[in-house]
Symmetry: C2
Subunit: 87 residues, 2 copies
């Protein structure tokens, strides 16, 4: 066996690929400049009889639900959905 | 190089470990018997001036927030928090 040169990169192992991901986070994009994303609903200000609020962290209209949970559930096998607030 | 026997296991590559996880789901445990977890709040039935609803899917009191988002955020670097419903 030949000794590797100092600082030479390790030899590629063929057929082995490793993907490293941050595990466990559930919000990939929304307001990542905030330490904790908290929203408030003042019920006296609600205009519609029913308003859906997002719990999947994939809505383009966050904190409202825009239906994006369906795509997320289909892609991942998850089962999340919104919180419905009813006047 | 010796040929491997038919059906013999592949040789172990030392120093390489690969963890395979289901990627992208955000709800590990809550009501996994339901296709889609949707909850309703009827605001006229709220007793307290402020009620916090969970959006981290880690609460032991789901759909209410029990503060478990703090542990989740600390463990993962995430920044999720509840929806506050105010009478
Ligand atoms: S879009 Fe997130 S719960 Fe509907
Ligand atoms: S426990 Fe889930 S948001 Fe607080």
């Amino acid at each position: 066996l030949q000794k590797r040169q100092l600082n030479a990169p390790a030899p590629r192992r063929r057929g082995v690929s490793v993907v490293v991901r941050a595990e466990g986070g559930i919000n990939p994009e929304i307001r990542k400049n905030e330490d904790k994303v908290v929203d408030s609903v003042v019920v006296s200000e609600l205009s519609k009889p029913l308003t859906a609020y997002c719990r999947c962290w994939r809505s383009g209209a966050f904190p409202l639900c825009d239906g994006s949970h369906a795509k997320h559930n289909k892609a991942t096998g998850d089962n999340v959905g919104p919180l419905l607030v009813k006047k």
